[in-house]
């Protein structure tokens, strides 16, 4: 009986969480369209989410591209298909690896930072102060962050695509002795514009999801400093899961 109760509670909490998410998401999207438009706050968030995430995103991409080349080269050599390494690296970077890994990185960096910031504001009554100053906290805090996430992620992923392909090229040409011209030809031979777009559109969705989750976790923080810690962890875990799960469905349904 006790186990059932615990399970029920868990389910209830999960459903409440999801409900909360959609309510706040709705309020945020309504906030996009309603004045005041806080351009300066938006710009600040673009710098924080985008520019500050750049190093970690680029390093991740260059090594992922490199390791892809290393692995596929080994495998493809078994049936003499080394020539297709470039295509595989480019295709998997554009369609899958760059968007998802960038999403995970940004969830770890920006999503957690948002949860920590809004969580501290909650426990020090700064969010109450916003409301008392006749300011809608969702519009003031969520909108610039989520908008920044949606706009910035595709750019990060585009740069990740480039560095990933570069990483693959360096490994294949320098370490495994592939012919540079042939490799480059192969890279772009089978690519379609759709591969690029699908990755970029997915990444915009990821950007919206993980910033919304980060903001929501922070906004709903209870229980002082410990609560802020919990929210931050939860933002990273939930944000990463949201990226991975939504990735599957987006790929299946849309592209």
């Amino acid at each position: 009986m006790r186990t059932l109760e615990a399970l029920g509670n868990l389910l209830l909490r999960f459903l409440t969480d999801i409900g909360r998410f959609f309510i706040l998401a709705g309020e945020t999207f309504r906030g996009f369209l309603r004045p005041p438009y806080d351009i300066r706050a938006w710009a600040t968030q673009i710098v924080r989410v985008g520019f500050d995430s750049l190093p970690v995103v680029l390093v991740t991409a260059v090594f992922t591209g490199g390791v892809m080349a290393l692995q596929t080269f080994k495998g493809f050599a078994r049936f003499h298909a080394e020539g297709y390494v470039g295509s595989v690296v480019a295709l998997s970077m554009l369609r899958e690896l760059a968007p998802v890994l960038t999403g995970l990185m940004v969830a770890g960096r920006a999503g957690s930072a948002m949860a920590a910031e809004l969580g501290s504001m909650r426990v020090t009554e700064q969010i109450d102060a916003l409301i008392s100053l006749a300011t809608d906290p969702v519009q003031y805090l969520f909108v610039p962050r989520v908008l920044a996430g949606i706009v910035v992620m595709p750019f990060l992923v585009a740069l990740g695509n480039g560095t990933g392909i570069l990483g693959g090229y360096l490994v294949a040409v320098r370490l495994q002795g592939a012919n540079p011209v042939v490799y480059m030809n192969n890279t772009f031979q089978f690519l379609e514009l759709n591969d690029l777009w699908s990755g970029l559109i997915k990444s915009a969705v990821f950007g919206g999801l993980l910033t919304l989750i980060g903001c929501q976790k922070g906004y709903d923080t209870t229980g002082g400093a410990e609560g802020v810690g919990r929210s931050t962890t939860s933002a990273v875990v939930t944000g990463s899961l949201a990226v991975l799960v939504s990735d599957f469905f987006l790929t299946k349904i849309l592209f």
Partner: protein, 263 residues
């Protein structure tokens, strides 16, 4: 301007519970325009919860909250925000925005809700800081301030829009007697200057008697006593006397030591 006979604040049958605990139990409370009401009570009894209901930071489980005759919770969110511009609220620890300087904190409501020019905003910020005797600290970070200064900056931010209703949540708790006295004087100045309707939450009797035109005591989720200060002090109710004398043995039931401020 609305009719002067309509009370600034009217709570009718306001109830609130957190989990199993009933914090407010069908509270009726009316504050006429321009009056200053002090709400006393033990720690954790729900004073802050009451205050948060007045400005709509918390939604009552039952009952209505009317500000200038308008029911806070039948309004659309945008209209509710509009109504909140009549309010200024000072929080326990100041609740200053720590991503901004002192000046930006005070300018925040001005930039958001008025069309004042940059110079006018600056002048108003300086004026508000002058009122709380903190001239020239516009560029300080909020982390550089002492507890007393934070509250005074909080006051300055609360009065920036010259609100009709001012709410103070434990304005002096945790401060030394001298700073407390200074803060009481600041609140007095604010009252003389703007004649706002004020609700002040405290458990400091000196503060209460210095500022109140009316003292209400919250106990057991109800307004237990509601009297002018002199009569309140003289009232022989054991709960009042326990608070006035600071003597817990007057009470028959044990004080709730596990209680604390809500949230």
């Amino acid at each position: 301007m609305t009719d002067d006979k309509v009370p600034a604040i009217r709570l009718s049958g306001v109830s609130k519970r957190f989990g199993e605990k009933v914090v407010l139990d069908a509270i009726d409370l009316t504050v006429p325009k321009g009056q200053s009401l002090v709400v006393l009570g033990k720690s954790g009894i729900g004073k802050s919860v009451l205050l948060k209901h007045i400005i709509g930071l918390l939604k009552p489980d039952a009952g209505t909250v009317e500000i200038d005759g308008q029911d806070l919770w039948t309004l659309k969110p945008v209209e509710r925000d509009q109504l909140r511009r009549k309010f200024g609220m000072s929080f326990q620890e100041g609740a200053l925005f720590d991503s901004m300087t002192v000046g930006q904190n005070i300018a925040f409501p001005l930039k958001r809700h008025t069309k004042l020019s940059r110079a006018d905003v600056k002048a108003r910020v300086a004026e508000c800081l002058g009122l709380v005797h903190l001239e020239g600290i516009e560029d300080k970070r909020t982390s550089e301030l002492s507890g007393g200064m934070r509250r005074r900056v909080g006051f300055a931010r609360a009065i920036a829009l010259q609100p009709e209703i001012l709410l103070f949540d434990e304005p002096t708790t945790g401060l030394d007697p001298v700073t407390t006295d200074a803060l009481v004087r600041v609140i007095d100045t604010i009252e003389e200057r703007f004649n706002p309707t004020m609700v002040i939450i405290t458990h400091d009797l000196k503060v209460a008697f210095a500022l109140a035109e009316r003292v209400a005591m919250l106990a057991g989720g109800k307004i237990h006593i509601d009297l002018p200060p002199r009569e309140f002090e003289a009232c022989d109710d054991p709960q009042v006397q326990a608070l006035v004398k600071g003597d817990s043995t007057i009470l028959t039931e044990e004080p709730d030591l596990v209680g604390g401020a809500a949230r």
